[in-house]
């Protein structure tokens, strides 16, 4: 295993994916182990496509994806074993209860049944789902469904958690729970990469932020580094983000 590659949790190089138009256009990205990384960008910038490729849900047209040194395109099953994916639309089964769902997910990831049972119980308690542990998910609110999906992502102890807009539609309490759960995992050494339109969340939670536009990474770094790149200090991430994207659009229109 390449030592330089192994030091990074995620390494993406020259990633390309075209649908009707290029969605990801030669993207390079590197996320360190134990890092909380936020990927920002306007609608249609290629954030979700990038994360779906990293999560093994889409095949790229070209490029490399390496997760903890594992070639995620050639050895996708091996890479998925240490990865979890959470989308904005909770992917759960209406006719299963949270307990059954977690048992199913743990089984898919090949976990020991006893370990899985303990972890499931702890997660359900932590996410305040214990009173509903044996109810079918069909009557759950969006927030409860998202918490069940998050529990499914955490139950198998992934080393890399990929989240696509995980806070969409959540109330303040549920959002706080999800954020706390993610920060706790990062403190335990887990790597998190997340897209969000709530810039305040990225500002407060992420150690590094990547800004993507038209399938390319246009800026990357800590909030301070991004401020420097955009040439504005003491401004919010929202201002920095809008400034970077506008700059990119102007450069594109002027053919630079």
């Amino acid at each position: 295993m390449n030592m330089e590659r192994a030091a990074s949790a995620l390494r993406v190089a020259g990633l390309r994916k075209t649908f009707q138009r290029p969605a990801v256009d030669g993207l390079d990205l590197k996320v360190g182990q134990g890092e909380f990384y936020a990927l920002l960008g306007p609608n249609g910038a290629g954030k979700t496509t990038t994360l779906r490729i990293v999560g093994g849900l889409l095949q790229p047209d070209a490029g490399e994806v390496s997760i903890f040194g594992i070639d995620a395109l050639a050895k996708s099953v091996e890479a998925k074993r240490i990865t979890a994916w959470v989308s904005d639309e909770p992917m759960i089964y209406d006719k299963l209860s949270p307990t059954e769902y977690l048992a199913f997910v743990a089984g898919l990831w090949g976990m020991d049944a006893a370990v899985a049972e303990n972890k499931s119980a702890a997660l359900l308690e932590w996410l305040e789902l214990k009173p509903h542990a044996h109810e079918r998910c069909e009557d759950f609110s969006k927030g409860m469904r998202q918490k069940v999906a998050l529990a499914g992502a955490l139950v198998h102890e992934p080393k890399l958690i990929i989240l696509d807009e995980p806070l969409t539609g959540l109330d303040a309490r549920a959002a706080r729970l999800v954020k706390d759960a993610l920060l706790a995992r990062v403190r335990q050494g887990c790597t998190v990469i997340m897209t969000t339109h709530i810039l305040e969340v990225a500002e407060r939670m992420a150690e590094r932020i990547g800004v993507i536009s038209r399938g390319r990474l246009i800026a990357e770094g800590t909030l301070e580094e991004l401020r420097k790149q955009s040439g504005s200090s003491n401004t919010s991430l929202e201002d920095v983000f809008l400034s970077l994207v506008a700059e990119q659009e102007m450069a594109r229109e002027s053919g630079l």
């Binding site: 999560g55 093994g56 849900l57 996708s76 099953v77 091996e78 998925k80 074993r81 990865t83 979890a84 994916w85 989308s87 992917m91 759960i92 089964y93 209406d94 006719k95 299963l96 209860s97 307990t99 059954e100 048992a103 199913f104 997910v105 743990a106 089984g107 898919l108 990831w109 090949g110 049944a113 899985a116 049972e117 009173p131 509903h132 044996h134 109810e135 079918r136 069909e138 009557d139 499914g152």
Partner: protein, 507 residues
């Protein structure tokens, strides 16, 4: 007249939605190509008229003097169509309460909900009438061409039948709702619809098998057993039959009764329909119960997990289970035939081989759609550490095991009679189900499970491929059960159908 919220305005809105639905039905969601639709419609019309010619041409000379035998045949045919229409109408009326769609919008608007429901009941009547005409018009055309325009009175009977079914369906659905409440009515109506749609033909076939040893309803209607129990030709029971044969007076009575049966419930019940819809919106499926399947999931390999998940989801969704299994009702006559001729010569049982194979093909297709296209958590499965092939093969196995389990009582019955025939039927059942599953895999298109009924319109090619391969395997099974080497021919046709389908699959 067309002020927003008025009768006409709402009717126009409903008409637009119905037209869009019809377009979807005809194009499968693809682009609307007027020329193609006209060509397909003309070909369909020609095909239906040719079938109608073969079936009804010999009855063109019938007059009002046909007597009890003729009236019995006509009334039997009318009842068959009537129950099929009633089944469809009952399902459509139930959908009025449970289809969330735009009801929340209407409920939050000042437009009177009663008016909307009244228009939607009329729309159901119109839709049922169109269906009745699709079935009846080719036969009426043929009869009128050969026997004179007096046969056009049958059109009035078809319209009356459709209106009657819409009215009865409204009453039945309302009774079910009052008796069972919003939580259970949908399932009960689904089962009632399946039973109503199939009960008459199954009942007739069952009586035919028991009394005269054949599956043919016509033979039963012509038998002395039935004719000796029928009333004389001037009985009121034959009013619809006399209307079909050109009696204007009887047609007037039929249409009047139908109008009363439709309008009275519509006036009396349309005010309550809004309440039903509100009640369905507040249904809770909850209840804290310790789930038995948790242990099933904890002690399984990933392959077994995927299979068990499919079975658990199906078992927990009575509506879906009834949708999937209702076609098995049509196996009842086959089961009766097996029971009636158990121990008789092999020849009598040969008819079972194609019937079971055909049913297995259709059931396999439905289950495969649920497992593959109807996957509720596709991202979870795609992100799990299992290969796509492992996932698909586990799901196909789940389908085949379910099909085999459902058909095993028949196989055990046949096995007691002839092990070679049981083997032939078992193989043909599995091959037909597997073929349908392959078609569903090649044409998979992610959809919510609740859109199960629309699966047949989402891809015309997949629907026809599934049907053709099932028919071809059923033919092969029939010939193989007869120990004929000609079975190879339809088997090759089935393989060619599958090969052709594979080449034009979406990539």
């Amino acid at each position: 007249m067309t002020a927003p919220g008025s009768w006409l305005w709402l009717a126009r809105h409903e008409g637009l939605l119905a037209w869009r639905d019809l377009r979807y039905l005809m194009t499968g969601g693809g682009r609307w190509r007027g020329r193609n639709v006209v060509i397909v419609s003309v070909m369909l019309a020609i095909g239906l008229h040719m079938i109608a010619f073969g079936v009804v041409a010999r009855y063109a000379g019938m007059t009002l003097e046909v007597g009890t035998r003729g009236f019995t045949s006509i009334t039997g045919s009318l009842l068959l169509i009537f129950f099929l229409l009633l089944s469809q109408a009952l399902e459509q009326v139930t959908r009025l309460f449970y289809g969330r769609g735009d009801l929340d919008l209407f409920r939050s608007s000042p437009a009177p909900l009663r008016r909307l429901f009244a228009i939607r009941v009329v729309a159901i009547g119109v839709a049922t009438t169109i269906m009745a005409l699709v079935v009846a018009l080719p036969a009426i055309d043929v009869l009128s061409f050969l026997g004179g325009i007096r046969w056009f009175t049958a059109l009035g009977v078809a319209v009356a039948a459709a209106a009657t079914t819409a009215g009865i369906a409204l009453v039945l659905a309302s009774m079910l709702f009052d008796a069972l409440g919003p939580k259970r009515t949908r399932f009960a109506a689904q089962v009632a619809s399946a039973i109503v749609g199939s009960a008459f033909i199954i009942g007739v076939q069952a009586v035919a098998i028991q009394s005269i040893g054949t599956l043919s309803p016509r033979a039963l209607f012509d038998s002395d057993l039935v004719l000796s129990r029928m009333p004389p030709p001037d009985s009121a029971l034959w009013i619809p039959a006399r209307a079909v044969l050109g009696s204007g007076w009887d047609l007037a009575i039929t249409v009047t009764v139908a109008a009363i049966v439709l309008v009275v419930p519509m006036v009396l019940l349309s005010g309550r329909l809004g309440g039903y819809a509100i009640a369905t919106a507040s249904v809770s499926h909850g209840g804290n119960r310790r789930a038995w399947s948790t242990r099933l999931f904890r002690t399984a390999s990933s392959r077994q997990l995927l299979q068990r998940k499919e079975w658990v989801l199906l078992l927990r969704d009575p509506w879906l289970a009834s949708q999937t299994l209702m076609q098995l009702l049509y196996l009842i006559p086959a089961g009766l035939l097996l029971w009636r001729f158990y121990g008789d010569s092999r020849g009598t049982l040969i008819v079972l081989a194609p019937v079971l194979t055909m049913a297995a093909g259709q059931l396999g297709g439905g289950l495969a759609w649920l497992a593959v296209s109807g996957e509720d958590a596709p991202d979870l499965i795609a992100s799990a550490p299992i290969s796509p092939m492992h996932n698909l093969s586990a799901k196909v196995e789940a389908v085949l095991i379910a099909v085999f389990a459902i058909f095993s009582p028949f196989l055990i019955g046949i096995l007691s009679h002839s092990w070679t025939m049981a083997l032939i039927v078992a193989v043909s059942i599995l091959v037909a189900a597997f073929s349908s599953a392959l078609v569903q895999i090649w044409f998979r298109s992610q959809a919510r499970r609740r859109y199960f009924r629309r699966r047949q319109t989402s891809s015309r090619i997949a629907t026809f491929a599934e049907a053709f391969s099932s028919v071809a395997w059923a033919s092969a099974a029939a010939l193989a059960a007869n120990h004929s080497w000609y079975a190879i021919a339809p088997a090759i046709v089935a393989v060619l159908v599958l090969a052709g389908t594979w080449t034009i699959r979406p990539r």
